[in-house]
Assembly symmetry: C3
Amino acid sequence: MSKLLSELRERRPLVHCMTNIVVANFQANGLLALGASPVMADAPEEAGEMAAAASCTVLNIGTLHRESLEAMEMAGKAANGAGNPVVLDPVGAGATQFRRDAVSRLLGAVDVTLIRCNAGELAAIAGVDWQASGVDAGDGDMDTETVAAEVARQYGCVVAVTGETDALTDGQRIVRISGGHPVMSRITGAGCLLSAVCGAFLSVGKDDPFRSVAAALALYKAAGERAAETSSLPGSFLSAFIDRLALLGEEDFAVPEPAEEVRA
Amino acid sequence: MSKLLSELRERRPLVHCMTNIVVANFQANGLLALGASPVMADAPEEAGEMAAAASCTVLNIGTLHRESLEAMEMAGKAANGAGNPVVLDPVGAGATQFRRDAVSRLLGAVDVTLIRCNAGELAAIAGVDWQASGVDAGDGDMDTETVAAEVARQYGCVVAVTGETDALTDGQRIVRISGGHPVMSRITGAGCLLSAVCGAFLSVGKDDPFRSVAAALALYKAAGERAAETSSLPGSFLSAFIDRLALLGEEDFAVPEPAEEVRA
Amino acid sequence: MSKLLSELRERRPLVHCMTNIVVANFQANGLLALGASPVMADAPEEAGEMAAAASCTVLNIGTLHRESLEAMEMAGKAANGAGNPVVLDPVGAGATQFRRDAVSRLLGAVDVTLIRCNAGELAAIAGVDWQASGVDAGDGDMDTETVAAEVARQYGCVVAVTGETDALTDGQRIVRISGGHPVMSRITGAGCLLSAVCGAFLSVGKDDPFRSVAAALALYKAAGERAAETSSLPGSFLSAFIDRLALLGEEDFAVPEPAEEVRA
């Protein structure tokens, strides 16, 4: 049983989200329900200062602009300088050249602790051929876990590829987390909020990012399952899911052990 | 009975919304619930590429900026080039000179498939004297259907003027759709989401825009009515409405036949 | 019993919110539920025109950018010129230098009617030493009411420092409003929407800002209490709170009389 959730609720870490206009509200409410403290600040004039003051910074390119990209680079570097974890959520990475370039620039300039993405976004980062569709996972032929492990080794970070089953790897170990509910793919921001929740767990567990993110993924799947018991229709699920993030205790989810080693 | 809804759910069209900070989340959740796939991208660096890749682009000027206006023009032209439908939602068109100019610029540069507006916004586009009030319909004296038909002929598009009763015209035919519930005027984004829903229907029925939009309007009224049975208070109606967009089937709404011809 | 709420619902004032991407939707829905008409417009090209046309303008720096700050100054001056009240919500004022400078610039250029803030934001405005944490109130040692009264006198405005108990002062009189529910600190935008609700009340009661804001604060506490009877979990509370803003009548809240004079 992970003690991270109680530590999170006790310390109430400040999670700095540089995020998109679609999910900002849902992310903030989800973090507050969980017990963290969200702050959104993406102007170049303050992003670095906020990142240094926060416990963790989440870079989300969902509705990116030239100026917010610049601010994200500044914030990522400031977080690095302060020894704070950085989460990259490469929303729709393969959808346009602008997003491909942005992800490449951020991964080049910032030491990222975690990349939280779907399969299509992973393919875009790894340069694997893939049929992307906007910000959805899309379709393609790829050994997701092998590619994820390669990306993890290349950038010296943890990679979480989430979907029906999540795969988490640090390049050496891999852990799979199943659960959740199909309605989670019918609401907007499920992945974006998950990135922020991972950021909250990394804030209190930055000494072991792999294990901290595993706990975040497991909690999230459990919250989805429980919320879907209240309603599996998307509108009422949204409320129920926020409620569950507030209600869930450490006894409600199990953090799986790494199941196997990946080929180096 | 329209087959468009099942086709929409099968094809899951990518609807590109260039939209405002107030309704982005509601639009995305509404499109997902309905069965479409939303994507928001309004940077000039990527708006055109996204519009070409998407099935339909929706231009919404609710919280417009100089740069997003530029991006909208680029996206509209790219959608035109790719043969994709374009929806214009001229939010608060009469409220400021900036919005009047923006609508005029977009209608001049882009072949719009559908203008989805309220009576006050129609008046602003047509240059009819009107007492606007922010983004509300406001008050004035205008033969809405005649003016809508004129605007439709002028821009070679379909015009939907929505409110208690919707009027849809292609300049020759007119159809009126009633139903819905008064609480729909007490939530934000009801019109904005409707524009996006029309975009989703146009994505699968672009060969007959008039009929596709009629189906979208009829579905939307039906969803509002059903949701109001769950709750007619605005907060809980919001959830119920998203739920209904997911639940509604083709048997739940009738697409009315054009009732009469308008005077040319 | 205050008659302001019925007047608000009758006149349906246009409240111009220059606001952040996190709470824009919640603010708009809250204002609509209450009976006001929200409009969001923060481009420099139109902010002044919108502010002159609206009944009240709310300046919220939650996700501020250089350009929106410029637009806020223009809007504030235009509102002043039109004799319309201006509300300043200095979100996270102490969190970064950019925010401190922004608040100082706005207070220097615009005659603000009301500052609605939390204790940490008040400390930042007053230059009192304080341990801020993002956009939360944070911790520190300050006689809140004395400092609030000083700030009120300095800027010739009304100051509302809200939290578990609200303190409202015009520099001479003080009134305390208790009530509400702890879950209100677990949802995002509770303070931001409150600023907008104050703006709606100021729109219909600008001849007596102190009393109008007192009514807004009392209504808001009552709405929170009632909504928490439906659910004290944050996700379902959000819906219930919007519902309550629509349901509440003048008989449901009492506007407290100023309890004492503050030392000048």
